[in-house]
C-alpha cells in the first residue's frame, strides 16, 4: 500500500481573527499548560496552524489525562490543515492519550506500518461518523488491514463503504485540493477490492474489478503495473506486455519503476521467447548499470541532510534536470507524488503564518509563537526531506533488486537452454510464429486495437501484444 498523507480541511470559523489572538494571549499569560488546547484552538481560528502545533504536542506530552472534547476538536482541525506527519512522529503512548478520531487514525496507521493489523483495526473500532473528514481515510485503512489479513469479504465491505463515503464527501466539498485527496482515497478503495482478490490469487476476479478504476484516475498509472502482474498470473503474457508498453508513452515519462522491465523480461521468458527476454535483461543493464552506481553514490553523499533532499525536488520542479537518468526520473516521480505534494503545499501555507506573525505586537506570546513556527516548519521541511530520501532509497533498492531479478531471469533462461542441450530436446516450438491477433485473449470489457507506435490517451493500458508462445 502506497504511503499517503492526509490533509483535512478546515471547517468554518465563527470568530474574528483578532478576537482569537486576544483570547490566546490571555490564556498564555495565565501560564497554565492545561489550557493549551483552548489556546491552540484560538490560534487555529486565526489560521496559525504551525504555530499552534507545539502547544498541542506539549500538552499531550505533559498531561496523562487529556481533555478530549477540546483536544479532539483542535487536533482534527490541525491535522486537516497540516497533515498527519507532524503528529505521526509522536510516540504512540502519547498519542493514545487522545481519543480523537484523527489521532486514532494516526495510531492505526502506525500500527499498520508495523504489520500489527489487528491493533490497527482496534484503534478504528470506535465509530467515526460518516461526515467526519477522516472517515474515508479510516475506511481505506480498515479495508486494507482486512485485505492484508486475507479477509477479502470484510475488506470489500469497508472498501465499498469507503467509496460511498468519499463520493458523498466529494459532492459536498468545494476545495480543489481536498477533492483531489478524496478522489485519490476513493480510487485506492476501488483498487482495494482487486488487490484483496489478487492477494487471494483470485486473478480472474481481480482482472475484472481492476477495470473499475477509470483511466482518468490519478493513481491509474501505478495501478496499471499491478494489472500487468495480474495478467501475468493469468498467464496472459501478451496482455502483460501490452500494459507494460503503455509506460513507454511520453505521458508516463516521469514514471520510475524498474520492475516494469523485470516483468517484461519475465513475460518473455514464460513465453519461451528467450532472445527477447535476454535482450530485455541486457538492455536493462546497459541502461541502468552505470547510472545506478552514480545514483547510489549521490544519495550516499547526501547522508541525512534533509534540506538537500527537499531542495532536490524543489529544483526539479523548477526545471533543473539531473544528468543521471535514474535520479532525474525518480525526482520527477516524487514531484507528482500526492503525498509529497500535500507535505509541500502545507509547508508553503505555513510560510504565510510568518507574515501574519510579523503583524502581531512584540510580546511574550509573539516570541513563543515565533519559536513554535520555526520548530514546526523546520520539522515539516525535514519531514519532506525525509520522505524524499526514503523514496530515493526505495528506488535505489528497487534498482538493485531489479538487477538481481534480471540476472536470475537470465540464469533461468540459460538453465533452460542447458536443459535443451544436455537432453537434446527442444523446449520451444520450432514452428512458432510471432505476432498474430489470433493469440489474443479478450474479456468482454476489452477491445482490440492495432498498435502502430503512437500512444492515444483512450488506448493507454489497452494494448495487447500478439506474440505466440514458443513453449512446447
Amino acid at each position: 500500500m502506497k504511503n499517503s498523507c492526509l490533509i483535512l480541511f478546515l471547517l468554518t470559523f465563527g470568530m474574528s481573527a483578532q478576537a482569537s489572538i486576544q483570547a490566546a494571549r490571555k490564556i498564555y499569560q495565565v501560564g497554565d499548560k492545561t489550557h493549551y488546547p483552548q489556546m491552540a484552538a484560538e490560534l487555529v481560528q486565526d489560521k496559525m496552524y504551525f504555530s499552534a502545533i507545539p502547544f498541542v504536542k506539549e500538552y499531550m506530552a505533559s498531561n496523562t489525562r487529556v481533555n478530549d472534547a477540546v483536544l479532539d476538536k483542535v487536533l482534527d482541525e490541525l491535522i486537516t490543515q497540516v497533515g498527519v506527519k507532524q503528529f505521526e512522529v509522536l510516540p504512540a503512548n502519547i498519542l493514545e492519550r487522545s481519543n480523537a478520531p484523527t489521532i486514532r487514525y494516526i495510531l492505526a496507521r502506525k500500527a499498520f506500518r508495523l504489520g500489527k493489523y489487528d491493533q490497527a483495526l482496534k484503534y478504528l473500532d470506535k465509530k467515526i461518523e460518516d461526515w467526519h473528514p477522516v472517515k474515508p481515510f479510516a475506511l481505506l485503512l480498515e479495508g486494507s488491514a482486512y485485505a492484508v489479513s486475507k479477509r477479502e469479504d470484510k475488506a470489500a465491505v469497508f472498501f465499498k463503504e469507503c467509496i460511498d463515503v468519499a463520493d458523498s464527501q466529494i459532492k459536498k466539498e468545494s476545495n480543489k485540493d481536498r477533492i483531489r485527496q478524496l478522489q485519490i482515497t476513493r480510487d485506492y478503495c476501488v483498487v482495494g477490492i482487486p488487490r484483496a482478490q489478487f492477494a487471494l490469487q483470485k486473478y480472474t476476479e481481480a482482472y475484472s474489478t481492476y477495470l473499475d478504476l477509470p483511466k482518468s484516475s490519478y493513481i491509474w498509472p501505478e495501478i496499471l503495473f499491478e494489472e500487468a502482474w495480474n495478467s501475468f498470473y493469468l498467464k496472459d503474457y501478451n496482455r502483460t506486455l501490452g500494459k507494460l508498453v503503455t509506460y513507454k508513452a511520453p505521458v508516463f515519462n516521469y514514471t520510475f519503476n524498474p520492475e516494469i522491465e523485470v516483468l517484461k523480461a519475465l513475460s518473455y521468458m514464460e513465453m519461451c521467447l528467450w532472445k527477447d527476454s535476454n535482450k530485455t535483461v541486457d538492455d536493462f543493464y546497459a541502461n541502468y548499470e552505470n547510472d545506478n552506481i552514480g545514483f547510489k553514490k549521490f544519495i550516499d553523499s547526501l547522508g541525512k541532510d534533509y534540506r538537500q533532499y527537499y531542495l532536490l525536488v524543489k529544483d526539479r520542479a523548477e526545471g533543473k534536470y539531473r544528468e543521471n537518468k535514474i535520479l532525474s526520473t525518480a525526482l520527477a516521480q516524487i514531484g507528482r507524488d500526492p503525498a509529497y505534494l500535500e507535505l509541500y503545499n502545507s509547508f508553503n501555507d505555513g510560510r504565510e503564518e510568518i507574515e501574519r506573525l510579523k503583524s502581531l505586537p512584540n510580546d511574550a506570546l509573539k516570541g513563543a509563537l515565533n519559536d513554535n513556527l520555526r520548530e514546526s516548519l523546520g520539522l515539516q521541511r525535514n519531514l519532506i526531506g525525509s520522505y524524499i530520501r526514503g523514496q530515493l532509497q526505495l528506488n535505489a533498492a528497487q534498482v538493485v533488486r531489479s538487477f538481481e531479478d534480471m540476472s536470475y531471469i537470465k540464469l533461468e533462461v540459460l538453465s533452460k537452454k542447458k536443459t535443451e542441450l544436455y537432453d537434446d530436446v527442444s523446449l520451444r516450438d520450432p514452428n512458432a510464429k510471432r505476432g498474430d491477433v489470433a493469440h489474443l485473449q479478450r474479456s468482454d470489457k476489452q477491445y482490440f486495437w492495432t498498435f502502430n507506435g503512437e500512444f492515444w490517451a483512450d488506448e493507454l493500458g489497452d494494448y495487447v501484444f500478439s506474440l505466440k508462445s514458443e513453449c512446447k
Binding site: 538493485v400 538487477f403 540464469l411 542441450l421 544436455y422
Partner: protein, 961 residues
C-alpha cells in the same frame, strides 16, 4: 560384375555408417560447443550478479563454482575426444597437454569452493561446496578423497536436501562398484526415498541389485518393479531393457518363476526370450533339471521361429547329456525342420549335425549288435528312430545324403526288414549318381540286388525292378531277351503313367526292333489313347503325324482312327479362326466339319451351334434361324442347358427383326426341348413364345403353348397371367368367340377373379352393343361376384376393375336420381306432404349408395357419385323453393314459402358440403375424371373438353392437366 556390385554395396554401407557416426558425433560436438557458450554466459551473469550484490553472497560463489565445474567436465569430454583421435605415440607423450584447459577450470572450481568455505564458515549450503570438491576428486580418480568429500557433503547438508541425496548416491555408487552392497543398499535406500530426478530409475536399479546381493529377494523384486514402471514415463531414464534382462534372474532365484511369467506377459514382453535366458543361466549354474523345465516351458511361449531354434539348441544338449531319447528325437526333428527353412546359424547347424549323427550311429550300433533281438517292438521303434536320424542327416548334409540313405538301408537290412531297406538303397544309388559317389553307388547297388533277392513284397519288386531293367537294356539293347524286357519296362512305365519314359522306350524299341510292327502298333495305340484321354492334343497330333507320314507302319483300321482324330484337331483350328475374327474362314471350317462323313454327332452339334452363332454375329437371321433350329433338334435337353442364354439372344434378335413367327417358333421349340428339365430359363422361353404369338395374333398357337405349360411344370403364377394376356389380346382384337371359354378357364382359379373384372366389363359392353342386354347383365353380375369375393379375401383389385364396378353401380344410381326427379310435388297439402316425404327417403337412399360407390376407390366412381348426389340435392331444393300452391290466400302462400325455405336450407348446405368434399377429393387424390369439370369450372357456359373420345387425358405443354 556381380562381385563389383557387391563390393560397391559394401563400400556404400560402410560410408553410410561412417556418415551416420560422423553426423552423430558432429551433433554431440556441436551441442557441447553450444553448452560451453551457455556456461560462459552463465558465468558472466553470475559474476555480474555477484558484483551487483557486493560479492557478499556465498550462494553466488557456489553457483560460480558449479558452473566452473560444469564447464570443466564439458571441456574434458572435448579434450578426451581429441586425445582419442590423436596417434597413440603422440598422445602418450603429451597427455597433460591435452587436458590442460579442463584442468584449469577444475582448479578454478576447486579454488572458488575453498575460498567460499574459508570466507563463509557459517554458510548453510556447505554441503554443496563439498560436493564440488568430491566431484573434482572423483574426476582426478582420487577415490578415497572423493569418498571423504562426498561424506562431508552429506554431513554438512540437510538430510532431506538434494545435495544430501546426490552425495548418498555418489557414495552408494562407490560402494556398489566395490561390492560393498550392505553400504550401497543403506545409502541408496535413504537417497531414493524421494523421486527427485530422472535418474531415480537407474539408481533404484542399483539398489535392487544391492538387495539381491544381500539376499533380500522380495525387496529386490519390488524395487525392480517400481523402477520398471517409472521407466515407462518420459520424465525418467528408461531402464526397462536392463530390468527385463535381470528381473528374470531375481524371480528365478527367489523361486517365483510364475510371477516372472506374469510380469513379462503383463508388459507385453517375450516370455520365451526371458525364459531362455533363465534356462541358460540355470545351465551355467548346473541346475539342469530346472533348466530343462524352464526351457520346455519357454517353448510354449515362443514368439518366433528363431526363438524356438535357440531354445531347442539349449534343450538338445540337455537331452543328449541325460539320455532323454524320445525328447532328443522330437527336438532334432523340430530343429531339422527349422534348418530346412534356413533358420539355423552355422554354429547351431553344427550342434544339430553332431547330435543327429551321434544318435543315428549309436542306435545303428545297438541294432547291429542285436541288443534288442528279443524285444521286437523296441527294435522296430529303434530302427524307425535311427532311420529318422539318418533322414535328418541327409537333410542337414545333402552332399553326403547318399551315405545317410545307404546307412538307413543297412539298419533295416540288419534287422531283416528288406522291404524298407530296398527303397533306401535305391535312393542311395540315385543320390550317389547325383553326388558322383561311385563307391556308395556300388555298395548300394550290391545291397539293392541282394535285398531284392530276399523275400521282398510284390510292390517292392515292381517299384524297384525298373532300375534293374534299365541297367540291363543299357548294357544289351538288342539282345535276345531285350524285346521282352522292353515290353515289360514299357508296361511298367505305362502302368505308372510315366508317359515320357514309355514314349522313350517305344522309340528305342522301334529303333532296336523295326520289324515288330504289331508290337509297335500296340505300344503306339496305348500311347495315343493315353494322350487322347488326358486331352494332350499336341502330343496326339505329333503321334498322328508320325502315322500319317508312315514313320510308323500300322494297320488300315488304326490308320482310319487316326484320321478322325486329325479331323477333331482341324475343328480346333476353326475355333481359333473364329476367335481371331476370321468369320468367313470359321464358317467354312464349321461347315466342312458338319458335312464331313467322319464327323461324329457330337462334333456336328457343336459345328451347327457355332454356325448359328456366326450367322447371328453377321446378322443373317435366316441362316441363323435355320442353324439354331437344327442345333435344337440335334441337342439333348440336358446339354442344351449351357446354350440357353445364347438362344434367348437368337429369339430376341429374331423378334427385334420383326420375324415374329420364327422367334416364337424357335422359343416354343426350345420350350418343348427343355420342358422336363430344371432350366431356369423355361419361363422366359414360354412367355416369349406366348407374347409373340399374341402380338402376331396367332391365338391358336398361344392357346397351344398355354395348354402345354402345366405339363412342363409351370405353375399358375406363370400360366394364368399368360391366359390373362391372351384374354386381353382377344378383347383388343375383338375375338369374342373364345373369350368366354378362356374366362371360364381362368374363373376356376379364384385368385384370378380380381383380374377378370375388367376384361369381363369389355365383354359386357360388347354384348350390350350387340343388343344382348341380358347376357351383358349376367356378365356384370359375375363381375360384381368377382369383386365381392376379392373384397372378402382382401385381394387387390386393379384400378380399371374398380372403375368397371363403379360404372355398373353408377348406372343404378343414375336411375335412382332420375326417379327422384320424376316424382313431382303437387297440392292438395296431404299429397304434397306424402310426395315430399317420399322424395326425402329416396334422397337418403341415393346418399347411402353414392357414398358406398365413392368408397370403392375408383376415381371415376368418386366424382360421378358426388355429382349425382349434388344433382339430387339441388334438384329437390330448387323444386321445393319453386313450388307455389295455387288458389291459396296470400298469407298461406307466404307462410308456406317461409316453411319451405326452412326445409330447403339444409338441402342447400348439404349439396354445398358434397360439392366441397368432391373438390377436395379431386385435388387430394389427384383424380382425373370426365366429371371433374362439372365441379371445378365455375362458368357453366364454357366448359372446356379435356377428354378425347377414348377417355385419354389431354395435357398442356407443361405436362399438367
Amino acid at each position: 560384375m556381380k562381385r563389383n556390385t557387391f563390393l560397391s554395396f559394401c563400400l556404400g554401407l560402410l560410408l553410410a555408417n561412417s556418415i551416420i557416426v560422423q553426423s552423430a558425433h558432429a551433433d554431440v560436438e556441436q551441442r557441447r560447443v553450444e553448452l560451453i557458450k551457455v556456461l560462459d554466459e552463465e558465468l558472466r551473469e553470475v559474476t555480474r550478479l555477484n558484483k551487483q550484490v557486493g560479492a557478499q553472497r556465498p550462494d553466488l560463489m557456489l553457483r560460480m563454482a558449479q558452473v566452473l565445474l560444469e564447464k570443466a567436465r564439458l571441456l574434458k569430454d572435448q579434450e578426451n575426444q581429441k586425445y582419442l583421435e590423436a596417434p597413440a605415440d603422440k598422445r602418450e607423450k603429451n597427455k597433460d597437454e591435452y587436458f590442460k584447459e579442463s584442468r584449469r577450470y577444475f582448479d578454478q572450481a576447486q579454488k572458488t569452493v575453498l575460498v567460499l568455505l574459508k570466507k563463509f564458515k557459517k554458510f548453510d549450503e556447505k554441503g554443496d561446496a563439498y560436493y564440488i570438491l568430491a566431484y573434482n576428486a572423483k574426476e582426478l580418480k582420487q577415490e578415497e578423497q572423493s569418498k571423504k568429500f562426498f561424506q562431508k557433503a552429506l554431513d554438512e547438508s540437510k538430510p532431506s536436501s538434494v545435495i544430501a541425496d546426490k552425495s548418498r548416491i555418489a557414495l552408494a555408487e562407490l560402494y556398489f562398484n566395490k561390492g560393498s552392497f550392505d553400504k550401497s543398499m543403506a545409502l541408496y535406500e535413504a537417497a531414493l526415498k524421494n523421486k527427485r530426478d530422472k535418474w531415480w530409475t537407474k539408481d533404484s536399479f542399483n539398489l535392487a541389485w544391492s538387495y539381491f546381493k544381500m539376499g533380500k529377494y522380495d525387496k529386490a523384486i519390488d524395487t525392480m518393479n517400481e523402477s520398471y514402471e517409472l521407466s515407462k514415463k518420459p520424465e525418467y531414464i528408461d531402464m526397462s531393457k536392463s530390468i527385463e534382462r535381470d528381473l528374470a534372474f531375481f524371480y528365478t532365484e527367489a523361486g517365483r518363476g510364475n510371477e516372472a511369467i506374469a510380469f513379462y506377459k503383463k508388459n507385453g514382453k517375450s516370455i520365451s526370450e526371458v525364459m531362455l535366458k533363465v534356462g541358460k543361466y540355470l545351465k551355467t549354474q548346473g541346475k539342469f533339471s530346472a533348466a530343462e523345465k524352464t526351457l520346455s516351458e519357454a517353448l510354449q511361449y515362443k514368439s518366433s521361429e528363431k526363438e524356438e531354434v535357440d531354445i531347442n539348441i539349449e534343450l538338445i544338449s540337455l537331452y543328449e547329456k541325460f539320455g532323454r531319447d524320445q525328447k532328443h528325437l522330437e527336438t532334432s526333428r523340430a530343429l531339422t525342420s527349422q534348418f530346412s527353412k534356413g533358420n539355423l546359424t552355422p554354429e547351431q547347424t553344427e550342434i544339430l549335425k553332431f547330435n543327429v549323427e551321434k544318435m543315428a550311429g549309436l542306435i545303428q550300433q545297438q541294432l547291429v549288435a542285436k541288443t534288442y533281438e528279443n524285444a521286437a517292438k523296441t527294435r522296430e521303434e529303434k530302427a524307425a528312430a535311427a532311420n529318422e536320424y539318418f533322414m535328418m542327416g541327409a537333410v542337414i548334409n545333402p552332399a553326403l545324403s547318399q551315405s545317410s540313405y545307404f546307412h538307413a538301408g543297412e539298419t533295416y537290412f540288419a534287422i531283416g526288414q528288406f522291404d524298407k531297406a530296398v527303397p533306401l538303397y535305391a535312393e542311395a544309388i540315385k543320390r550317389s549318381q547325383t553326388n558322383k559317389d561311385k563307391k556308395t553307388e556300388e555298395q548300394a547297388s550290391n545291397a539293392l540286388m541282394v535285398s531284392l533277392g530276399k523275400n521282398v513284397s510284390k510292390k517292392t519288386s515292381e517299384d524297384y525292378l525298373i532300375p534293374a531293367y534299365e541297367g540291363f537294356l543299357a548294357v544289351d539293347p538288342k539282345g535276345e531277351k531285350s524285346s521282352v524286357v522292353y515290353q515289360r519296362l514299357f508296361s511298367t512305365q505305362m502302368g505308372k503313367k510315366n508317359i515320357s519314359e514309355a514314349e522313350k522306350i517305344l522309340l528305342k524299341y522301334k529303333a532296336s526292333f523295326p520289324g515288330e510292327k504289331e508290337t509297335q502298333e500296340k505300344m503306339l495305340a496305348q500311347v495315343m489313347d493315353y494322350h487322347k484321354d488326358t486331352g494332350n492334343k499336341v502330343a496326339l497330333g505329333e503321334w498322328a503325324k508320325r502315322v500319317e507320314t508312315n514313320e510308323f507302319k500300322v494297320s488300315p483300321e488304326y490308320a482310319a482312327k487316326v484320321k478322325t482324330l486329325v479331323l477333331g484337331m482341324q475343328f480346333e483350328k476353326v475355333e481359333q479362326a473364329s476367335v481371331k475374327g476370321d468369320k468367313r474362314g470359321a464358317l467354312k471350317g464349321y461347315l466342312q466339319i458338319y458335312k464331313s462323313p467322319e464327323t461324329d454327332n457330337e462334333a456336328k452339334k457343336t459345328a451347327a451351334y457355332n454356325i448359328a452363332v456366326l450367322f447371328y454375329e453377321t446378322g443373317d437371321w435366316k441362316q441363323m434361324y435355320g442353324w439354331a433350329d437344327r442345333t435344337v433338334t440335334m441337342m439333348g435337353a440336358v446339354e442344351f442347358n449351357k446354350f440357353e442364354k445364347d438362344f434367348i439372344l437368337f429369339t430376341t434378335d429374331l423378334f427385334q427383326r420383326r420375324q415374329f413367327a420364327e422367334s416364337a417358333a424357335l422359343s416354343e421349340k426350345i420350350f418343348d426341348k427343355i420342358c422336363t428339365t430344371n432350366s431356369k430359363n423355361i419361363k422366359t422361353f414360354f412367355k416369349n413364345a406366348n407374347v409373340i404369338y399374341l402380338a402376331d395374333k396367332q391365338f391358336d398357337k398361344s392357346l397351344n403353348i398355354l395348354g402345354k405349360a402345366p405339363k412342363c411344370g409351370l405353375g399358375n403364377d406363370v400360366v394364368l397371367p399368360g391366359y390373362l394376356d391372351h384374354l386381353n389380346e382377344l378383347a383388343a382384337a375383338s375375338k369374342w368367340g373364345s373369350f368366354s371359354e378362356v374366362i371360364k378357364k381362368l374363373e376356376a382359379s379364384k385368385e384370378m377373379w380380381p383380374q377378370l373384372i375388367y376384361p369381363s366389363s369389355l365383354l359386357a359392353n360388347e354384348l350390350e352393343n350387340l343388343g344382348r342386354a341380358e347376357d351383358a347383365q349376367k356378365v356384370r353380375n359375375k363381375m360384381l361376384t368377382y369383386y365381392e369375393a376379392a373384397k372378402k379375401s382382401k385381394m387387390d383389385v386393379p384400378l380399371e376393375g374398380l372403375d368397371a364396378i363403379s360404372l355398373i353401380r353408377l348406372a343404378g344410381l343414375e336411375v335412382q336420381v332420375k326417379n327422384l326427379k320424376a316424382v313431382k310435388l303437387s297440392f292438395p297439402e296431404a299429397e304434397y306432404n306424402k310426395n315430399l316425404k317420399m322424395k326425402f327417403q329416396m334422397l337418403d337412399k341415393i346418399t347411402t349408395e353414392a357414398i358406398s360407390i365413392a368408397e370403392l376407390g375408383s376415381g371415376i366412381g368418386i366424382v360421378r357419385a358426388y355429382r349425382l348426389l349434388v344433382e339430387g340435392h339441388e334438384s329437390l331444393q330448387s323444386e321445393v323453393l319453386a313450388f307455389s300452391p295455387e288458389g291459396k290466400s296470400a298469407e298461406y302462400v307466404a307462410s308456406f314459402h317461409k316453411g319451405m325455405q326452412k326445409l330447403a336450407a339444409p338441402l342447400e348446405k348439404q349439396s354445398q358440403d358434397f360439392r366441397h368434399t368432391a373438390i377436395k377429393k379431386i385435388e387430394k387424390e389427384n383424380i382425373l375424371s370426365s366429371d371433374n369439370g362439372w365441379f371445378l369450372v365455375k362458368n357453366d357456359a364454357i366448359i372446356p373438353e379435356y377428354f378425347n373420345d377414348n377417355g385419354n387425358v389431354l395435357m398442356d405443354k407443361a405436362g399438367s392437366k
